[in-house]
Symmetry: D2
Subunit: 352 residues, 4 copies
């Protein structure tokens, strides 16, 4: 398997299966001398972890990070930061029902086809549990770029949309409710909807919006490694993501150039920002904003047909605890990946 | 500048400015022994080139490719394929009006900020002319994977949408009209709309849809380099792209798991394909389909305010010929990038 | 810090300081389905570990590897193999004498200059203790390529040389003595010499020779990534290495073409093998052989002048246990890096 | 074929066969704003080109570089620099005698085995003609780092050695003789020797020494990408190279630590420099020096047995013009690769 690393200069490599000994990773390229705020890292982990509220999965994963290298006397040394997140409950569940069965819309089938063999426990490497390592790397990237503000929030849950422009939202409200929607009225409706979905043993998708502020002009590389292309890849690499748009996005495809062009102010800022803070793949100093679409989690508590490895269709019911709506816990993952992308381009930009 | 390469094993590196001596690139990693169909490459180039119809830019660029290496007796040798596309008209235009001016929603400003200096002629490196090199690399990638069928087409022009499911379209009609929309009625309406936009001296965006068929199971790498994440990055790296969605896309975020899950047939195919042919980042053998949103081209023939490099706002009118709608010419570029991504994963998958 | 990864498809990334919590690494790209022989891995670790004989450092490092991922039911799954090697004695030594002092011919000074800060305990990241992680990755690479035989041995200790051609040596004798020299008479003289050096509180360099047999034709990539160029880089990346030569090596520079050319047998093998099994950067099926020069370890038990971080020259005496001769323990490291290089090229070669 | 790129941030990718249309390359990552001295580039090309003196090959290759992008108004723009070197004489020679024959100690056999097919004209991609592109990239790297002085010279031709320490040599004499040996007496003996070898229709190897001065402290990355490991790889990637040693090199393996350690001066310089300017893989500000061993060129004008592709041994005599001694022309290539390595690490070091 290739593909377990992200980044050129701020580079994260992760390992770990859902039910192995531990997850973890190596962050290579973090500059030396950064005084790490370990509590801030723990806070990000707590936003991602299961069981944080009544509307997310109730699996128990403490997600405690152990740093093994790269930090001395509280500061980064410039050497690789190795860390692990032990899987404390790896033997508690029974996965015999999926050992020989491919769950619909899971990666079971393609893993068996590609590798001839798989660690079937809890989805193994294909489990979204892997994103815990990304949150660690993102939390450190955030501390590397203290001036840049990254705020993600839930803007849709299933059919319920928050259409308020981000400029009118109070990001300090994001953590005030379990949905992570900064508009409290919408949050309440979304929460109610998720509770209902959960009772049905079903799941629902949603959209995470993200706003990045105080980005210096010049981040991003022209041509293949445009800033928004890397942001898009980073977001699409998160489990369950089906779409990415930035700035005017899909709605921009309906517009005319005379409407879409962002006219300049004398200081180089623009009067409008349909460009989404990026022109020609390079940040222009305006706010970067984008939206990430998540499909519903495939594991439901209803009975559905699955395929076994002998070609038989057999009914299967999800066991254990399920995650009725993925987006509240996806918020810190979106922020983490954004921070990793920015940290990487920040370092690349220092070489000019 | 970094970022001028794409791919790990099938790797394309490009160079060239809009008005320099030549564009070109190097394809590294193409297997040996492929009998190249040079006419097929020329055909792809002709689909991208300016002046191909009345509804695209009338600039004259012959876009003739010269292969310099890596081919012997008509076959690839396994060594890098170097090629150039001479810029025949590089001195014909007058770009003095943008020498010291930043056009709205162009990369002029960010290039000057990032590099302190820029080749201002025709947008220099930020010009979409760079995509000609991608079409060459994509055309060869297509020949490397003859069994895989890649069909892109225009599904929206501004407010005009073709909502017919791709299964009901006849892809052989794509080239039958200058819009590259396989539904002839929609194509006629779109063409009329573009002609009108052109008369206004304005531009309009659109959406390119792409369908990839006969993909073997197993392409794509889990975690960061998921097949759809790379497709997304590849598409977002094309000039003017604002969004990418695959399978159920943004609409999938509104669905429930019980609706969205693709149930299996005994042979491993699925009854529905909301997954878009990819599960866990790996192709599952079903059709891959995705949509790419393009904003309107920024250069319009109307007068708009621009910023000069001394901080003055000055009105500017686009000169020369403009491209009223980018999507007909974007179709071969979308296909080319898809082919490059698939070729790369195809080679990676051979290492298992 | 960049540079903590090696390889393109079989890729090892390592982390860890001499006196941190743990060392470790991630192996990405190991194919699935390999039944791992954990005892063979332990055996390689035991060949590298301190305290294995009277002629190497007597530091106590158990070097027990814990695998955290990528292995299921005893077999590799194709997912990244994460592992750690806990540092059990990280608090036992006193390193206050080097906290503000730069030891001669150590990396202390350059680390402080480059990073502004360093983990001074035991050399931190610059310690050869990092090579333990390489031995793990190499041991798995060996199991991936069971048909290829890699044998390294000590061919020089200081002024004592074993000049016997490798064809006349019995590699099964390498482990029969603590020096790892397959010629028992030379081994005895070398061992005596090292014991004497040790009594003097001094250290001595040496040469490790390596022979790789049963390599298929075709490994290695032309131009920059020639097989011997990667082997050279891999060897030169091992602590204390000062030189690398393969095939005829430096002595080949004194020869004429009429003497140096290896004439063919009808089956494609060659009558002589001054090429060292590699032509044009690609393995030709003949034995690959090379030599690696190690300088003496810098830490000696004699008093030498050091520099403190205020610019004062102060005498310093090495504390604790020292390693009088590095080469016996370097043998498994040379083999490990050779195995990693071969595994990487083996996978790349599968893409043709 | 992979392996046609070198470098992470200052990155060169090359293409081209000996007898194709053209050689060339792309330099990606060169910072913007460097006023290029094109004559200095031409001078480096003239040092590498055939026919420059009576003791090198008399083939006619003008080796004129055409820059196609990345330069505007005489300065680098920060965009990729594409260039070609047309092969003007690609049809003049007759290579039918090697079409089906594998010359001893050439890459003919391994290319056919690896790729199933080869461009046999003049060695195709395996020809040292490829190094012309490296000289272009190196000449620009030198201009990027004007303060760093790189001087390579011939220190051995066959059995004739110049053993004078580099400190006692006058580098301004390197270009005063066709051998590129700064000691004029040795140069005369070497030249005479080469003339004699040439009359015999034979070839001879040699050694190029290289000294790099005024390197800032801190270049090089610890662990796998040590400065000397990359220098070693870069040198070993040059055709005909069999060995690399830096600082004390192989002779350092015979020394004791008490002799080998470089004691500090109060300013951080060292009294001796057996380390060769690099400690722990990082430059320490002292002179970097290393030696590169070249085997004799395989093409000789004597009759030798070759193998044809049906397994028959047949006598073959080299045709055309041969290169009796490779090292005078290798001097600028060694310098070029050293400059490329330094430029890359210089940019990486800016990210700290």
């Amino acid at each position: 398997m290739a593909g377990n690393s992200y980044g050129t200069l701020y580079k994260i490599t992760t390992f770990g299966e859902s039910h192995g000994e531990a997850l973890g990773g190596i962050i290579d390229g973090c500059p030396s001398g950064i005084q790490l705020d370990l509590e801030a890292i723990e806070f990000e982990m707590s936003r991602r972890k299961p069981g944080q509220s009544a509307i997310v999965t109730q699996r128990k994963e403490p997600d405690a990070v152990q740093f093994l290298s790269g930090i001395f006397e509280g500061k980064t040394t410039g050497t690789p930061i190795g860390f692990i997140i032990p899987n404390t409950n790896q033997k508690s569940d029974d996965y015999s029902h999926i050992k020989d069965n491919y769950r619909p819309s899971h990666a079971d089938y393609v893993y068996d086809q590609k590798y001839g063999f798989r660690d079937y426990r809890g989805g193994g490497r294909s489990s979204a549990r892997e994103t815990a390592s990304r949150v660690v790397a993102g939390a450190i990237a955030k501390q590397m770029l203290p001036e840049i503000k990254i705020n993600a929030y839930v803007s849709s849950v299933g059919p319920i949309h928050l259409d308020t422009p981000y400029q009118e939202l109070d990001f300090s409200k994001i953590e005030s409710n379990p949905v992570r929607c900064p508009d409290e009225k919408s949050a309440a409706v979304m929460e109610e909807y998720i509770r209902d979905i959960r009772k049905q043993g079903d799941t629902v998708g949603g959209v995470v919006s993200c706003v990045i502020q105080n980005v210096p002009v010049g981040l991003g590389e022209p041509v293949f490694d445009k800033l928004h292309a890397e942001l898009g890849k980073a977001m699409l690499s998160i489990n369950a993501v089906k779409g990415f748009e930035y700035g005017s996005g899909f709605s921009g495809s309906e517009m005319k150039g005379s409407q879409h062009n962002d006219l300049y102010n004398p200081d180089g800022t623009t009067k409008t920002n349909l460009s989404g803070g990026i022109q020609g793949g390079i940040s222009n100093g305006m706010d970067i904003y984008f939206r990430v679409a998540f499909k519903p989690v495939a594991t439901i508590m209803q009975t559905q047909d699955s395929l076994d490895n002998k070609g038989n269709i057999t009914p299967m019911t999800g066991k254990g605890r399920h995650d009725p709506c993925v987006v509240p816990r996806a918020v810190p993952i979106v922020e983490a990946m954004a921070a990793i992308v920015l940290a990487d381009f920040y370092l690349i930009n220092k070489t000019y």
